[in-house]
């Protein structure tokens, strides 16, 4: 029986934990089998949950979130018979599969779309808690915007400095309104539950928004320009599917291998012009073949297109 460990945000974080859950469920539905899961409540539970599942014979054990990196690198050697998969972090151990996503690439693509959809030339970014990962999203996005429209302005706000920043849709709304009053007509939310408020307000105020992680286009049909897809669900599904004895090592999921992308469906079909699609697909192709390098904030903690 495989196991899945959600990070502190909880499995219904409207973000990547939820995507992981979706993937696991898809696997369960397709195979008719079951899996174990736990939503962490405290930092100290990370290690405990890993060891408990490993000792109980759960295999493979999949976990979401960079915060597991450190603990896993200590725990994994103790259970050589168990396979682990970690998402969003690289852990160099023989029994660990590390899956990382090039969120900056996907953010770059939606940034291009934002710039092209914007009439005002000002677009916004709203992050959750101010951590490096979220800056990575923001930085990729800003690069995409500038690539499509070098004169565009990118407004970037973070919601806060405590974990409450992931669950404060009210503040998300206010930030959106503040960005709108500064001229933004497209906003990209990478803020978990706070993003709900961002998308809602964008819809209420009649501007475009961009969802994150999973496809959020359906939340406000016709008002969400697109969503930056991070196929955590696929990664979890794949790990469960591969089962014990799965292939280890690093999996970098990017635009090239379909791990990262942007969402197109009937909800946003009218919003995305042919021109946009062409430009974005072209950029995607270049990213895939390596001829276009999107700067990753986390590689050197700096961003050429945006100041924090």
């Amino acid at each position: 029986e495989p196991a899945l460990i959600f990070d502190l945000g909880g499995k219904f974080d409207k973000s990547f934990n939820e995507a992981a859950f979706t993937g696991a469920q898809r696997w369960a539905e397709e195979t008719g089998e079951s899996f174990r899961e736990i939503e962490l409540q405290s930092e100290a539970q990370r290690e405990q949950a890993l060891r408990r599942f490993a000792e109980a014979g759960n295999n493979p054990i999949v976990m979401t979130g960079f915060a597991f990196g450190d603990v896993l690198s200590q725990v994994a050697p103790d259970y050589p018979e168990t396979d682990f998969a970690i998402i969003d972090m690289v852990v160099d151990q023989p029994n660990v599969r590390s899956v990382v996503f090039n969120e900056h690439e996907g953010s770059y693509l939606v940034g291009m779309m934002a710039a092209m959809a914007s009439e005002s030339g000002t677009v916004g970014f709203i992050g959750g808690m101010d951590i490096p990962l979220i800056r990575k999203f923001a930085c990729g996005y800003a690069q995409g915007v500038k690539a499509a429209n070098p004169d565009a302005t990118v407004l970037a706000n973070m919601t806060g400095t405590t974990p409450a920043a992931w669950n404060d849709p009210v503040k998300g709304s206010e930030l959106t309104k503040a960005q709108i009053s500064q001229g933004a007509d497209v906003v990209y939310a990478a803020a978990g539950g706070t993003g709900v408020g961002v998308l809602q307000t964008a819809a209420d105020e009649d501007i475009l928004s961009i969802g994150v992680d999973s496809n959020q286009n359906h939340l406000h049909p016709g008002q969400v320009l697109t969503s930056m897809l991070k196929r955590v669900d696929n990664a979890v599904y794949q790990a469960f599917q591969d089962g014990p004895g799965m292939e280890k090592g690093f999996n970098v999921m990017g635009v090239g291998n379909g791990g990262i992308g942007y969402a197109m469906d009937e909800n946003n079909a009218d919003l995305v012009t042919e021109e946009m699609k062409t430009a974005v697909d072209e950029a995607a192709a270049k990213i895939a073949d390596g001829s276009l390098q999107v700067h990753d904030y986390m590689s050197d903690d700096s961003c050429p297109a945006l100041d924090f």
Binding site: G10, L155, V170, A178
Partner: protein
Amino acid sequence: MDYITLIQLLDSTVRFATPLLLACLAGLFSERAGIFDIGLEGKMLAAAFFTAAVAFLTGSAWVGLLGGIAASLVLAAIHGVASITFRGNQLISGVAINLLAAGMTVLVAQDWFRQGGRTPGLTGDARFEGITLPGAAAVADVPVIGPLYAELISGHSILVYIAFLAVPLTWWVLFRTRFGLRLRAVGENPAAVDTAGVSVVGLRYAAVLIAGVLCGLAGAYLSTALQAGFVKDMSAGRGFIALAALIFAKWRPWYALWATLLFGLFGALETRPDVIEAVIGLKVPGPLLGGLPYVMTVIILAGFVGKAIPPRAGGAPYVKER
């Protein structure tokens, strides 16, 4: 900073301030009657959830509001039973209520809707929409007054107007009615009220329940006016800020208005780093920007607000017989 930006900033201030104001007035009633209430946060949260849940199920924000107020009243009643009837510690009771609300809302939400502790999104009549005041469109183009009326004063949800009207109403009730006189007396010296032949217990319950209603409005505003549904923990510490505002306001209704508007302004400024940069001529790093309102509060408290003297009988259960 130009005029329009100012108006927008103030508009945002009003939205930030409204739930704080309602919760602050709730605390004011309770604490003026001698019952400390650190459970504002929990009551607000519970009301936010039940308003959204009932509004979703019935399709009416108003029915939802009743549900939210009812939920908040249940918690208020628990606080009353613990701290009035059983003379328990009011602070512990408040802590418990906050935790209870945090847990229960998600638990019930998950049980009812299976959407991970949130309610389904609300649309149409299940939300409190903004109200355009008469003539707003007509005067919108008049310089100075126009934007002030059309942007800042008009266009808020009905709950905002209720909150602002609650200030003079609270003042009137407290300082102009028999009930208010007795309520203030019971927070200062319950024995005086008791020997005057008025029920201390009855008054304190009344105050605590009024606090419940006001917290209900605050919660409803979060989930059905500002947002279109409930998200777990969406009160995000506003109950505590309201408490700080209450002390800041020295337990007075009009001061409560100014105090919560000030906190609202801090919140609004935090969303506009560009304005801050323009005003102080210095770019504040993002994380520190988040701490700025709190630093400002401490500075103001230290520098400008003298000793805040709480109602004398506050926090202590009324015990006649040792």
